[in-house]
Amino acid sequence: VLVVTITNLLWIHTFLSLCSSLFFLRVQFELWDSDDPIPRQELLKKVKGCDGLLCVLTEKIDAEVLNAAGPNLKVLSTMSVGFDHLSLGELKKRGIRVGYTPEVLTDAVAELTIALLLATSRRLIEATHEAKTGGWGTWRTLWLCGYELADSTVGIFGLGRIGVAIAERLKPFKVKKFIYTDVAPRPELAAAIQAEYVSMDELARQSDFLAVCCALTPETQGICNKNLFSKMKNTSIFINTSRGGVVNQEDLYEALSTGQIAGAGLDVTVPEPLPTNHPLFTLKNCVILPHIASASYTTRNAMSALAANNLLAGLRGEPMPKELQL
């Protein structure tokens, strides 16, 4: 008998696909049936003796959890493309396979990144506020003017699937030039969007719009700091939809409040949620969203199904649709 623990709420069809497969596997599954994250103590209790674990990005899967689970655990499936919440070294050591959800969320994330970029550059949040609170007079020539994509240079920090998808969507806005930086050039991806490889310094200097799309690693932790912001144009817009830890938030606050950069849009912060008294909330030119980049009905459905299928394949000892190479 295999026991599977699932944390967090899943779509109905995921249950159905799990159940129909479980019938043949004689699997028991246990669900933390809530919209809210499972408390740490509960997680440590419930993973005991599990063969499989399906989690989301709010669970830190480290040595403590893996030890609590014990030697049966052979597959971990996360409903996310990011894996900075997983201790990869510990997982590899124990021979545990890992599934994740790249690609199915690329469209939704790229779309939300552009939504955030435009909301920031065209001052949508300031504008809706003025409309609601009486600041809206009659049409005026320079009121609430923003910065246009037409004729601009867009810089991408970390050129992966999502970075390419963002550039593809920005092209018809008449962007003049795409540039990117990364640990090394990515010629195939760059060719798809005709992007030029530059240093991080050049990316800062040339970009009118800078979008951060890299994974969070020890190398990228806090890499968007005063060193980067001080080199950027004072008319530039900074967008981060990757992971909060990539940005030094104190340095960002400085850059925004002193006019070093024109505006910033964040879908990810440290911590999440960001406390409501955080200084970034006092800035008109900072737009903060609650990590909703992949939040479309179809995408969350697809992520959920993929996470379930990764889990089932892992339990059966078969190839996963999307396995993370450890």
Binding site: L9, T128, T141, G146, T276, I292
Partner: protein, 328 residues
């Protein structure tokens, strides 16, 4: 002997961006009387200011009707508006008096199409709601179904009025994975081919679209087009976007449609009136995003519009070809 040129007089109804004012002043073709304010010229001041003017430079907030034209008198030969819309101009009265009209198409197409897409995305992906939750403490942790919205990927988009702006919007939406691009209007447009646009009757567009974008001019035919019958035909999961003119939409019917769940959400950059009173019911709805008519509001575009408006005016004063003349 030195013959003095007749002094051409021009009235400018607002403090327009410097680029435009400087062009007028440097041309040394006319004396400029300027309502030097960011706020609209009051009606009485407008009627006084236009007296004897040869040229009038105005904005869309100035209603130029028979009363204004009569107050101006027979000198008036050119009206130049800093807008692409001209529903604020009494065209018949202007034509009758053989006054030429300049306007600003094309130069604002990119900024307006960009803002239309911005509004569509903000509405479909629930950005203002998300920001509200963040500020009010409603954000607790990542949740699989919280604040989910409607994505463009695999969707059908319907554009009502595939003119310059409608086409520019369609071009920008395409790479988001839009599966079908429908459009309606008085006749099919050859340029629709570029975006694989399908010309369909309005009813079909409404029934089949996940996103309905209104991008037509305001005319007697389009006045109140978006009414109860219109919204009833739309999908309950559809998003409605209007960045054309407020009067194309029946706002009471829109409010009904939004609260009854007949459509999922709406985004408006234009309303009736403008500004919309702060106690208007639409402003209280979570699924309605209202922007204060900022379609063309970028620094570069407003500067270019100002220059074009000034150049149209100067050409009209000196009897030359205008860069952008409105065919009356």
């Amino acid at each position: 002997m030195h013959f003095a040129q007749p002094v051409l007089r021009v009235f400018v109804t607002r403090r327009i961006p410097q680029e435009g004012l400087e062009l007028l002043q440097r041309a040394a073709v006319c004396t400029v009387s300027l309502w030097d304010s960011d706020e609209p010229v009051p009606r009485a001041e407008l009627l006084k200011g236009v007296e004897g003017a040869h040229g009038l430079l105005c904005l869309l907030s100035d209603r130029i009707d028979a009363e204004v034209l009569d107050a101006a008198g027979p000198n008036l030969k050119v009206i130049s508006t800093m807008s692409v819309g001209f529903d604020h101009l009494a065209i018949d009265e202007i034509k009758k008096r053989s006054i030429r009209v300049g306007y600003t198409p094309d130069v604002l197409t990119d900024a307006t199409a960009e803002l239309t897409v911005a509004l569509l995305l903000a509405t479909a992906r629930r950005l203002p709601e998300g920001i509200q939750e963040v500020k009010s403490g409603g954000w607790s942790s990542w949740k699989p179904l919280w604040l989910c919205g409607y994505g463009l990927s695999g969707s059908t988009v319907g554009v009502i009025g595939l003119g310059r702006i409608g086409l520019a919007v369609a071009r920008r939406l395409k790479p988001f994975g839009v599966k079908r691009l429908l459009y309606s209007g008085r006749q099919p447009k050859p340029q629709a081919q570029e975006v694989d646009g399908e010309y369909v009757p309005l009813d079909s567009l409404l029934c089949e679209s996940d996103f309905v974008v209104v991008s037509c001019a305001l005319s007697p035919e389009t006045q109140g087009l978006c009414d109860k019958a219109f919204f009833t035909k739309m999908k309950t999961t559809a998003v409605f976007i209007n960045t054309s003119r407020g009067a194309v939409v029946n706002q009471e019917d829109l409010y009904e449609a939004l609260t009854a769940g007949q459509i999922a959400a709406a985004g408006l950059d234009v309303t009736t009136p403008e500004p919309l009173p702060t106690d208007h019911p639409l402003l209280a709805l979570k699924n309605c995003v209202v922007l204060p008519h900022i379609g063309s509001a970028t620094y570069s575009t407003r500067g270019i519009m100002a220059k074009l408006t000034a150049n149209n005016l100067l050409a009209g004063l000196t009897g030359e070809a205008m860069p952008s003349e409105l065919k009356l």
